[in-house]
């Protein structure tokens, strides 16, 4: 289920959780549950940010198209 959660949704929920924890109104059980959920969300956000933080990967559309066409060359000899 967490894979379907968008980055925006994850950060929104994380904010809610931290707000609730900071309020001091959460009981012991709830605090532990929220901390666990929060950690999962933090990991999700960190993963997304890491995916765009390692280094720019530049591709060319014309190369991709060529690769696609060459790859399908066997079955398209009639062209």
């Amino acid at each position: 289920m967490s894979e379907e959660l968008s980055y925006e949704a994850a950060t929104e929920r994380l904010e809610e959780i931290i707000k609730r924890l900071d309020s001091g109104e959460a009981g012991l059980r709830e605090t532990l549950d929220l901390c666990r959920e929060g950690r999962t969300l933090v990991e999700r956000c960190a993963t997304e940010l890491d995916a765009v933080g390692k280094g720019l990967e530049e591709l060319r559309l014309d190369e991709l198209v060529a690769r696609l066409e060459n790859g399908a060359g066997g079955g398209e000899a009639a062209r």
């Binding site: 968008s6 980055y7 925006e8 950060t11 994380l14 959780i17 931290i18 924890l21 900071d22 012991l28 605090t31 532990l32 929220l34 901390c35 929060g38 950690r39 933090v42 956000c45 960190a46 997304e48 940010l49 995916a51 765009v52 933080g53 390692k54 280094g55 720019l56 990967e57 530049e58 591709l59 060319r60 559309l61 014309d62 991709l64 198209v65």
Partner: protein, 446 residues
């Protein structure tokens, strides 16, 4: 294949042989011909022409444009000085402008490093009115708007943090660098797919359309940027192409347009999800999230969660400790009570035993006293012994030991007469060393 310039070889030969079987005169050197052509064209009548300005282009000394109408066009050239001398309001001579030009045909024969060009040499010019170009654009704009095509792209969900971005732009232009700079400002370093395409002239529109469609078909593409630096409206007219704009309007992937015309919006600006003034802004619109800041925020959030978590864990540990002490305390109390009971029982047992011993001792003492009071001293003992001796003398066992036998019947009764013996029939003879069974021969029963 012969080169255009004179080679050593061609200088050596004055003239090559003509084509076999050709009725045409010659061959003559081309440069000579070019020069003559120019002369001939310049002799043609000078006249005025009218049409629409298209693809206006200025260099340091010259101005070039095409003069067009529905039936055809003419390439025009003008000295920049001549244009300036006309005193036109700046921007009046622009793509789409209706003009009247005066001049004559000309031919530039080219040089070692520049190509030849045929042109209408303009020496006089008058702006006649705004061209049809803008009117066309306006009509198309109204039509597409009427069909609701300005809406769909803007309704698409734009991810705050895309992993893969497609960019349509010219290969050599500044727009490419500006897009990279914009992405770097966001701290974004994901996957970028470049779709290089011509971004002006009449080949541009179909190529841009194709690029946009191919990018949208790539797996994982989350947003497409179409970027071009500034230019005249004619330069950007490819972005007003109807097919391109309809394609973008209905594309499933959001398109961010930055085609850079400062006064007029192209149609692409109207159909796109977002229209930006520069490629840098387009890159920032493609990645709304400021990644560097976001990384900081996530770190902070993780820290806050850890603090809350630790506090909660400590609180829980304390609570558990309290709960766990309770049974221990209970057990301790029970244990004390048991020990107490045990001590009491032991004490009671010891007292009981002591009492018993005391009682026994008292009884023994009493018995002792009784014995003593019964006088069982030496004299008494002597008399007992005497009595015992007398008894012994009379003990039937003693008699048996002297050799006599006791006669009994099987039932154990004494038989003291022969008559009784004959009567019994069976006898038991008890000797000093044991008993034997005997049968009477003269039994009266026989």
């Amino acid at each position: 294949m012969s080169s255009l310039g004179p080679t050593v070889q061609e200088r050596l030969e004055q003239r090559p042989a003509g084509i076999d079987g050709s009725p045409l005169p010659g061959p003559w050197p081309v440069g000579e011909y070019a020069q003559r052509l120019r002369g001939w064209l310049r002799e043609r009548a000078r006249l005025q022409l009218f049409g629409e300005v298209w693809n206006l282009r200025e260099t340091r000394v010259r101005v070039y444009f095409e003069l067009r109408d529905a039936q055809g066009a003419l390439p025009c050239a003008m000295w920049r000085d001549d244009l300036v001398a006309l005193g036109l309001t700046p921007g009046a001579l622009a793509d789409g402008a209706q003009v009247v030009v005066g001049g004559g045909l000309d031919y530039y024969p080219g040089a070692a490093t520049s190509s030849p060009a045929f042109s209408f040499h303009v020496t006089a010019l008058r702006i006649a009115g705004e061209g049809d170009l803008l009117a066309q654009l306006d009509r198309l704009r109204k039509r597409l708007d009427g069909e609701g095509l300005f809406v769909p792209q803007k309704a698409l969900r734009r991810p705050v943090l895309p992993r893969t971005i497609g960019v349509v732009t010219g290969e050599g232009g500044k727009a490419r660098d500006d897009v990279l700079a914009g992405l770097a400002r966001r701290g974004w370093a994901g996957r970028l797919v470049w779709a290089f395409a011509p971004v002006q002239d009449r080949h541009a529109a179909p190529r841009i359309t194709r690029a946009v469609m191919d990018l949208a078909a790539l797996e994982g593409i989350e947003v497409i940027v179409v970027a071009r630096g500034g230019g005249s409206l004619a330069d950007l007219f490819c972005f007003c192409d109807e097919t391109l704009c309809r394609t973008v309007a209905l594309l499933a992937v959001p398109v961010v347009a930055s085609v850079g015309h400062h006064t007029d919006r192209t149609l692409l600006d109207d159909v796109a999800a977002v229209s930006c003034s520069t490629p840098t802004h387009a890159a920032e619109a493609a990645v709304p999230l400021h990644c560097t800041q976001a990384r900081e925020q996530v770190r902070r959030d993780a820290g806050r969660l850890a603090v809350h978590g630790r506090r909660a864990v400590i609180g829980r540990a304390r609570a558990l400790a309290r709960l766990s002490r309770a049974p221990a305390a209970h057990l301790e109390r029970e244990r004390s009570r048991l020990h107490q009971s045990l001590r009491e029982m032991r004490a009671a047992a010891r007292r009981g035993a002591a009492d018993k011993r005391e009682r026994t001792a008292r009884r023994a003492l009493a018995l002792d006293r009784k014995v003593q009071s019964a006088g069982l001293d030496g004299r008494r003992r002597q008399r007992l012994d005497a009595l015992a001796a007398v008894l012994g003398a009379h003990d039937p066992q003693r008699t048996l030991e002297r050799g006599y036998a006791l006669v009994e019947d099987p039932a154990g009764g004494l038989v003291t007469s022969a008559a009784a013996a004959r009567e019994r029939g069976a006898l038991r003879l008890r000797f000093g060393d044991g008993a034997v069974d005997a049968k009477v021969r003269e039994a009266t029963d026989e």
